[in-house]
Symmetry: D2
Subunit: 292 residues, 4 copies
């Protein structure tokens, strides 16, 4: 297939490389230049602007936030204006439910299709095609896009036919990860202050009921205080909690743990942690307990 | 070995049966009568009081709370007064760190040994010998007790040589389960109010980063609103959160999610939920969001 | 002085009437018609649009939210475009710090002056000129505007020369009122469930350390469950908490009680309380405790 | 009247001196010696033990916590064993509702009377007879005791005929003060980080809706970071929050702000603040925001 890929950050560059390796024709674009070079060496065509990446059957977006997706999507040279009728915008970025709804409406009006396909996984999983993908879209669009998603992820879950549902599920999933970080952070602070070794404790947790990737990954980051380099930067985590809270406000769902995480990120940034992995909020309970 | 087992509730009865099947001689006791009958039919000797269960090499306690363990342990006919020098008290109950420390001291003074061996798992796991066991005790005691623990659990984790450490780890583990219940409850409330099917959502979670027993077990209980019969009754969950908070207070560790869970249990009981499984607190976020 | 007044809600109509009574020439405007009639009968000129209210020395805005103030301020027929150089925009609405900063910049560029003068008090205080006014602006503008503010309020506090400071102080004050509502709500739920009479309790509080208007006003509303008609509607309270949290996010200040209040409003709306006075969130602790 | 007074800390010494000045015959006792000397100089008789202070018509207790009141009240030489039938135990200490109920029962059985008369106010108010007193007890006992209470306080509020009610009201009042400290702490952190002067801000608050002693007293302590010497030491504040939470647990009342305060005290102690006034928890929001 003839594809476009917009957004070549840590995640996007790995995903785009997977599509190239699978034999697809790929035009790649990134707002700040220089990111496309390694992909060009692998056979990608470098698109100078968004419109130039929208000439094929589908275009992926893997951008950092609502503002970046809005800017790429709307306006005279944006995706909506540039994509052919019947072509698909596959949005893998984690965006707000509200923006997902605006995009669904705009693409429908333009006779195009909109598939939400946000991903779970960090850069190494993106490069290895080991992401988990949560997708929503009308059946016809999903049928065409699913082979591409299978190249990017180890498993694809179809949520529903309504694209914003997948973005809501993705946001709720990031909230759940944040709640794991908080839970681990509090539990580790407690046992450590009680004299139990952090790593021994983690081994017990992940050897029992908490035998899941999320506990292993984040438990190790927190227990080892390994927050640099950031696989998923704290400001991105804060953004996702903000979007969760925005969706919860619209839907009128009180979420006290999400509110707590909002404050945790502010406390992290107040002490200068913007560059750290978002797992660093998991070290705040220890700091509050007087541990270092 | 010649053993005693005190406390024949849902968990204890399954554990005692495992010890019997493994060929040990077992004297069983329960404060309210009638619980010992099925075990007697399997060959257990019924002990009329605590002292009568303390005549062997080791005695297990699997009681509901601090008060029950205190009452069985201290006093003229209690475990400390009745156990032979060198014999071991294996406490599998989930008790406070403070009581665990008192027991360690009392047994040491009496020339006995004290092993903490609390368990993770619900009644079906106890009956099947599939518990996870977290144990602490001095090396000599652990060496003698470990074969017994291997009969009860699928895996035994040695935390340290200090018994109260295992109780702290156990309590922190129950806190972590509670935090999973809360996280799932909030996430399920959000996506359900957004129109996503609860069971479909759960399938996605447990098929991705949250592929752990704790998410499957509690996710299903919450998503299906299946809180009766209680595998682990809500007042026991409340008790464990109280003990976590007591340990946190002694150690000076602020734990906002533990504090939240404290209030959740009160809200559950204020609406009459004392008989339900503790997973029922995971339905409170949905109730707060106006879902039923 | 020749003045304009935009926004004739429950608060604005009382404030405008005070300016009329003080002998000022007043052009009044409200987006939805019909609100100006009583003022016209008192001698006000009815302005058909925003621009028509901007012909004098100063124009007041007393609108419900950021969107309304933005809409009135910007655009070809807005306040910035319509006000004469040197004239003053006195913004008494409770708006975001961010919008206050944009307005300050826009009016400065246009050679106009911007004074923030948000008020504390409910409709009866507005009608009686008994508001408390918190004002910020450059000295020259403040000097001209202060006599007008003294007509509207029983006391005027000058915060600083930077207009957005007054909006921040006002928002923080509304947060403090919300925290009083929450505190009273929790305390009332506790003592009532313990068997103490709510009104007797309130009498004790306001007769001792809590002898302040805010405790009397909100204590009575909560203790008597008198939430209709709304003097300050719950969605406006929610908006202010949202603006407080937005300012706190920009400034990186964790505010757990503000986060709690955010969730309280969602819980109130989830049970259909949009029409009630914001004091109604003070009845939620009682509801959580199983009281009605 | 012939009276006893047990507990000569910062509060008790001032209260006892008031009773002396009013002409009553007073036997005073304090567990650690040396505290009674100044009162002896004013005419008090020094009682060597609790029993020696219980020979009159009434005995006051003004002790630090449940343990101290329990120890003074029960046992062979305690108040219950020593007081004459018909005499009154006036408990001005802030104790748990549970202990208040035990004392009520024990004194009733012994044919004595029990009046709860906890106080609001700090040491200077105790010395000046300017306390606020919240009292409960049967009518006959109250009639006899009220003249004494009027010597100690500027105002006496009768809650009900059930002594534990006054202790519940007192505890809830201390919770409300704590919630004011938290609210002020968060608001001050917000405006200070936004560039507004703390003292100017406080002047605005206490000049408007927050014109109450509690806002002036605690606002000044927090804004001036004046936490030493402690008028009311942080561990006593922590104790009261613990007792509030215990009452709330018994009554099944979720109190999220009380839970928050519990964690605030732990955070304060984790950084070494045990010696400070409890107002010091009001500086934690600023610390979390990176202010010093």
């Amino acid at each position: 297939m003839k594809l476009g890929f917009i957004g070549l950050g840590q995640m996007g560059v790995g995903m785009a490389a997977r599509l190239l390796k699978a034999g697809h024709e790929l035009a790649v674009h990134n707002r700040s230049p220089g990111k496309a070079e390694s992909l060009a060496a692998q056979g990608a065509k470098v698109a100078d602007d968004v419109a130039a990446a929208c000439g094929g059957d589908a275009v992926f977006t893997m951008l950092a936030d609502d503002a970046a997706v809005e800017s790429a999507s709307f306006g005279p040279k944006g995706i909506v204006a540039s994509l052919a009728p019947g072509a698909v915008h596959v949005c893998s970025a984690t965006i707000s439910v509200a923006l997902s709804e605006r995009l669904l409406e705009a693409h429908s009006k333009a006779g195009q299709q909109f598939v939400a396909a946000p991903v779970f996984g960090r850069p190494d999983a993106a490069a290895a095609g080991m992401l988990f993908i949560v997708a929503s879209g009308v059946a016809d669009a999903m049928r065409r896009v699913e082979p591409l998603l299978n190249v990017l992820g180890q498993k694809v879950f179809i949520v529903s036919e309504r694209a914003p549902d997948a973005h809501l599920v993705k946001l709720s999933g990031n909230f759940l990860i944040a709640s794991v970080i908080e839970g681990l952070g509090e539990a580790l602070a407690l046992v450590e202050k009680g004299g139990v070794d952090r790593l021994k404790y983690l081994e017990i947790l992940t050897g029992t009921l908490f035998n899941a990737p999320v506990y292993r990954t984040y438990g190790n980051l927190i227990a080892n205080r390994k927050f640099e380099p950031a696989g998923f930067a704290a400001p991105l985590g804060q953004k996702d909690i903000r979007l969760v809270l925005a969706a919860a406000e619209t839907l009128r769902v009180p979420m006290p743990v999400a509110s707590l995480m909002r404050d945790r990120f502010l406390a992290l940034f107040a002490r200068g942690g913007e560059k750290l992995d978002w797992a660093a909020v998991g070290a705040l309970p220890a700091a509050d307990a007087g541990l270092t």
